[in-house]
Symmetry: C2
Subunit: 126 residues, 2 copies
DNA sequence: TTGTTCGTACGAAATTTTTCCTACCTTTGT
DNA sequence: ACAAAGGTAGGAAAAATTTCGTACGAACAA
């Protein structure tokens, strides 16, 4: 993995990962709903660039091109998370989680969820 | 908190947080040791800009100015982590931790560390 | 004293990322 | 047929970030 999506590229990838292959129009609408105001041609341009970079591919058989992510969600996020942990917490995952637990915005539900995950993990790795 | 350090700014902040108030020379040396080749004047410029932005302040009483972080480590990292979780995992911390657990690079030690953290947390919040 | 080293200031340039204008083509509705 | 709506392509510009050259003063060593 040598591909590091920029902030805006990641926004687009999220839409495609979440909703599957989509037109530019669809992605642009989602961004405007969920994120911020952005012109159609800006999104178009970015997605074209992403296709050049081999981050996406597209089906041009119809006039409305369908864009398809070429990089896999889990793999990409794992890569980005690893970089984040390295940069911010000197590679220590537990430091990150400690920060998470100290964060007021992390809800009780999230925390019991965390505990369940860890139990599950232990069970499978006993 | 409205201050969002850039990638390079964060590198500088990490040095200052870790080593305390420092000269440009010191920070630049650390960056070259730990990160990548970068000219002295580049680091200088960046730290001057950060001072303008009120991210740092400096003691100019000596010729070698001493730069001091104005934003707090924990608070800043919490903010950045929250944004990361929002952007990448739609705000779900447990999704992030799940990714962490699935990551081969997360060691067994890290995981028992995690479990200990969670136990500790529960004890204090029973 | 004099030259070398080390510091800051400043401006400009290079790079990266993001945004949008314009042109032009296709589809659709009247 | 024709206008309106919606599509892509491409270039340029804007914005954000990063890098560095040059000038010049202070400290220091010979």
């Amino acid at each position: 993995m040598e591909i590091e999506p920029t902030k805006s590229e990641l926004e687009i990838l999220q839409v495609l990962w979440h909703h599957g292959p989509s037109t530019v129009r669809f992605v642009n609408d989602k961004l405007n709903e969920q994120k911020r105001a952005v012109q159609y041609t800006s999104t178009l341009k970015l997605m074209q660039i992403m296709a050049e970079k081999q981050m996406l591919t597209r089906d041009e058989s119809q006039m409305k091109h369908i864009y398809i992510p070429l990089i896999e969600e889990g793999q990409t996020k794992e890569f980005l998370l690893e970089k984040f942990v390295d940069n911010m917490y000197n590679g220590s995952s537990s430091s990150l989680v400690m920060q998470l637990l100290g964060n007021k915005k992390t809800s009780k539900e999230e925390i019991s969820e965390l505990r369940a995950l860890l139990d599950e993990f232990d069970k499978n790795n006993a």
